[in-house]
């Protein structure tokens, strides 16, 4: 079974890479061992219990679970080693997503989607903001306090529109950030925001002018304590219940200029850049769901007997499962390939580039996490220089290419999740639809992945536009 295979059995090509970058692959192998153990011993046993508690109260969060993850430093794993994290890159995160989602998508997403905050900051690569964020997370983790970030782009009237320039140009937003002295006043709503009710910090997009959204859309960040900000309804969902989804309300929220995260009018560029990496991870989530469904189905079909033999000895069962397994194997290659590319060509390469690596190596830990460095990094010239370097290293062409590949993986991975859970449900039949087998939960969980991070239809549009060129539709 797939859950017995190690990373190099999944993707032998990584063995070739290991010869050149041994520490990179060893870190990923270590991540796989850790995540697999965590998924089996912590996530899987909690999965059904948390799901039922959240069905009664959608705001329920299993904090014991989150603390266990913090003890293993999983929520801060992406922070460089020297600064207190595990130095995970995309490859390690993708592995976490597959292993975690095969046990429970909701509990995995509770941690995984929290990494959006870091990504939002990485994308602009403002050193002071990043350093401040890292310091805060590490310090709070030591105290046993979780720090949550939410990334808010969807609006009540617009989900797809906020993720595509041509759609954004014609959208009718509810939210607007009016420029005032020293900052902006924000009014409006955001909807279906993952971890929105838990967030300590919210990264969101809003146009400066409602009638020129594409030209003026901008990314901001606020602490959840900001006056005028409040959480609306926490949604009662079909699945992925362990990870809450909330409505965010902005009423005359003042955002100082220093909390501007993208330059004015670059909101869509900021979103696109994030989506160009995260869509790949959502594709992996679909693969994880499919794997979880197959594992549970094989267990069920090996135990139950029909027509004088085990259910798994039925030919139709084997062919149906083999079909799903083929897609898992094929897509996993593509997902891991994409993750390696993110590490070597996208934002992650900033942390891996020789300059940053040397800086991290020679700077004492005490200085790295001190206010002095943050102050230095916050100086206009240093900030502009580093941000500029990042833009040069991660060009528009690279991002466009990643959107193309990431969208293809997102749609196919999540379609697989839906199809695999549905077929597995057919195999286990009515008896297998009992809650305890966990297959009905995976079926419920799978559907939303076809919708978030851009509906799969929007992903089709993104692939077409980048393969063939933009045509009016």
């Amino acid at each position: 079974m797939a859950n017995e295979q190690d990373l190099l059995e999944y993707a032998p090509i990584l063995g070739v890479l290991k010869k050149k970058f041994p520490s990179y692959i060893e870190r990923a192998e270590e991540a796989q061992r850790l995540c697999r153990k965590f998924a089996r011993e912590v996530i899987a046993p909690l999965s059904l219990e948390v799901d039922s508690k959240c069905a009664i109260d959608p705001t329920y969060v299993d904090w014991d679970y989150y603390r266990k993850a913090m003890e293993l430093h999983i929520p801060t794993a992406f922070i460089p080693k020297k600064m207190g994290g595990k130095g995970w890159g995309a490859l390690d995160l993708w592995i976490f997503v597959e292993e975690g989602c095969s046990a429970c998508v909701g509990l995995t997403a509770l941690i995984g989607f929290n990494m959006f905050g870091f990504l939002c900051a990485c994308v602009e690569f403002m050193p002071a903001v990043l350093l401040n964020m890292i310091k805060h997370m590490i310090e709070e983790e030591k105290r046993g306090n979780p720090v949550f970030f939410a990334w808010a782009i969807t609006e009540p009237g617009a989900g797809t529109d906020v993720q595509h320039p041509a759609a954004m140009a014609r959208m009718r937003p509810s939210i607007e950030a009016r420029k005032v002295k020293g900052g902006y006043i924000v009014n409006g709503r955001k909807q279906f925001i993952t971890n929105g009710n838990l967030a300590d910090f919210i990264c969101f997009n809003a146009p400066l002018d409602r009638t020129k959204v594409l030209e003026t859309d901008t990314t901001f960040m606020i602490p959840a304590t900001t006056p005028g900000f409040s959480v609306g309804r926490v949604e009662n969902k079909c699945g992925q219940k362990a990870c809450p989804t909330a409505e965010l309300i902005f009423e005359d929220v003042f955002v100082p200029e220093s909390n501007l995260w993208s330059p004015e009018g670059e909101g869509i560029r900021h979103s696109t850049e994030i989506l160009s990496t995260t869509r790949g991870a959502i594709g992996m989530l679909g693969v994880g769901i499919a794997r979880g469904a197959v594992e549970r189905t094989v267990r069920f079909a090996s135990e139950k007997r029909v027509r004088g033999h085990a259910l798994i000895d039925e030919g139709w069962v084997q062919f149906a499962l083999a079909d799903i397994l083929m897609d898992i194997i094929n897509l996993r290659h593509a997902m891991l390939n994409f993750a390696v590319a993110v590490d070597f060509y996208h934002v992650m390469k900033m942390l891996n580039n020789p300059l940053a690596k040397t800086a991290l190596r020679i700077t004492p830990k005490s200085v790295l996490l001190s206010d002095k460095l943050e102050e230095l990094a916050g100086m206009g010239i240093v900030s502009t220089m580093v941000s500029g370097l990042k833009k040069k290293m991660v060009s528009e062409e690279i991002i466009s290419n990643f959107v193309r590949h990431g969208s293809a993986l997102k749609a196919k991975g999540t379609d697989l999740g839906m199809r695999a859970t549905s077929i597995c449900a057919d195999i286990v039949g009515l008896e297998g639809m009992k809650r305890d087998y966990g297959i009905e939960k995976l079926f419920r969980d799978a559907k939303i992945a076809q919708i978030y991070e851009g509906t799969n239809q929007l992903n089709q549009i993104d692939v077409f536009d980048r393969e063939v060129g933009y045509h009016d539709r």
Binding site: T160, R172, E235, V306, L311, E314, W316, R435
Partner: protein, 383 residues
């Protein structure tokens, strides 16, 4: 026309005013009594509400649709019953599944009415009380178990022992219709037992993926003695009846699936007309139109398909068994895909409880696996 949830095929075929009238009355019943409580019943698993709907349905005569006139019923055909279930499912699949169990059980028993004892018939049809009893049925599933249900004969006394697994509505039904095997060869027998008989215990309702308002529970028989009246006809002689009942039930599943599809379709169509995205209403987008068109195509073919399963030599009687099997596979697959696509058309809001579409997705998945799953059936439809 489509969006109002009418059965186009039925009107075209001209089944006569009588049927149309019954279906129309059930349509109004669905709007008034079922739709307003469907979401609540799904969430709260509230049996009292389901029972209340059952009680009210008696005014319309839905429970006695398949009971012959001489026992106070309206003596309708299984086709009429299927059309009624289609209408009920538009409001809530769970409610329709409750009636599907009851009506299929009625079909089995009353087709053997001359062999059922008069006392039991009176109780079932409610001739004295004016209220027909709620029946359910347990159709044998493929999964083997150690404590398989068996009809045994010990020194002239018949008794049932073993488990009837996951019987729909068992916790609320008055009688269960069973097809047990026994120590008399290959054939199955037909037995009707009160759920309150000594030796019968109904387990706790399982939490399942969907059809939440219908409690599915194991029914355990421990030396449940049958003083003689519960056995219908000869022992081991009911294989044909079992097959016919199974096909009626599959036909009913198909009808329910089409009602669910119409509901998903009408919700998605309505939403697509009102949702703006990419500079226009989403109904203007070809991909959305394609998804909606596929629902419409399959809905029409599926409706014709299940009607055909009930059109034998005499209109409304059961046709060859294959047609019901094929219809069940096609119609329930269609219902699931339509629900999945209807959620997709809605985007995030479709995944939330409030629109009721995610409920259709969960219910449709259950319809695909009732008794035997579609993928399992596929390898057996070829003779």
């Amino acid at each position: 026309m489509y969006s109002t949830g009418r059965l186009v095929t039925m009107i075209d075929r001209g089944f006569g005013e009588g049927i149309k009238e019954i279906v129309e009355v059930c349509r109004q019943f669905t709007r008034k009594e079922i739709e307003p409580v469907a979401l609540d019943m799904d969430q709260s698993h509230d049996r009292e509400r389901l029972k209340a709907i059952w009680e009210k349905s008696m005014e319309l005569g839905i429970p006695s649709l398949l009971i012959p006139e001489e026992y106070g019923g309206s003596d309708q055909t299984p086709l009429t019953a299927a059309l009624v279930l289609d209408e009920l499912a538009f409001g809530c699949c769970s409610v329709a599944v409750l009636f599907a169990h009851h009506l299929a059980a009625c079909y089995a028993l009353f087709s053997q009415a001359n062999k059922v004892s008069k006392e039991i018939l009176k109780l079932l049809s409610g001739e004295d009380s004016g209220k027909p009893a709620m029946l359910t049925l347990s159709l044998p599933t493929e999964i083997e178990r150690e404590n398989q249900l068996r009809l045994e004969n010990s020194q002239g006394v018949l008794s049932l022992s073993g488990v009837a697994p996951l019987v729909g509505c068992a916790p609320i039904a008055d009688y269960i219709v069973l097809f047990p095997r026994g120590d008399y060869g290959d054939g199955v027998s037909l037995v009707v037992v009160s759920t309150r008989s000594a030796g019968v215990s109904v387990g706790k309702a399982e939490t399942m993926l969907g059809l939440n308002a219908v409690p599915f529970a194991d029914v355990t028989f421990e030396n449940c003695e049958l003083p003689g009246k519960e056995l219908v006809g000869e022992r081991g002689q009911m294989n044909d009846l079992l097959h016919r009942t199974l096909h009626v039930f599959y036909g009913f599943c198909s009808a329910i699936a089409m009602g669910a599809t119409r509901s998903a379709f009408s919700k998605a169509l309505q939403y697509a007309k009102n949702r703006y995205q990419f500079g226009k209403m989403i109904i203007e987008h070809h991909e959305i139109r394609r998804l909606l068109a596929n629902m419409l195509i399959k809905m029409n073919v599926g409706t014709a398909g299940y009607i055909q399963a009930f059109v034998g030599e005499e209109v409304g009687s059961l046709a060859t068994e294959r047609r019901a099997d094929l219809a069940r596979i096609f119609c329930t697959d269609t219902a699931l895909q339509s629900a999945i696509d209807a959620i997709q058309i809605h985007g995030g809001i479709g995944y939330m409880k409030e629109t009721g579409i995610e409920k259709i997705m969960r219910d449709s998945k259950m319809l695909q696996v009732l008794v035997k799953s579609n993928r399992f059936m596929e390898v057996d439809v070829i003779a």
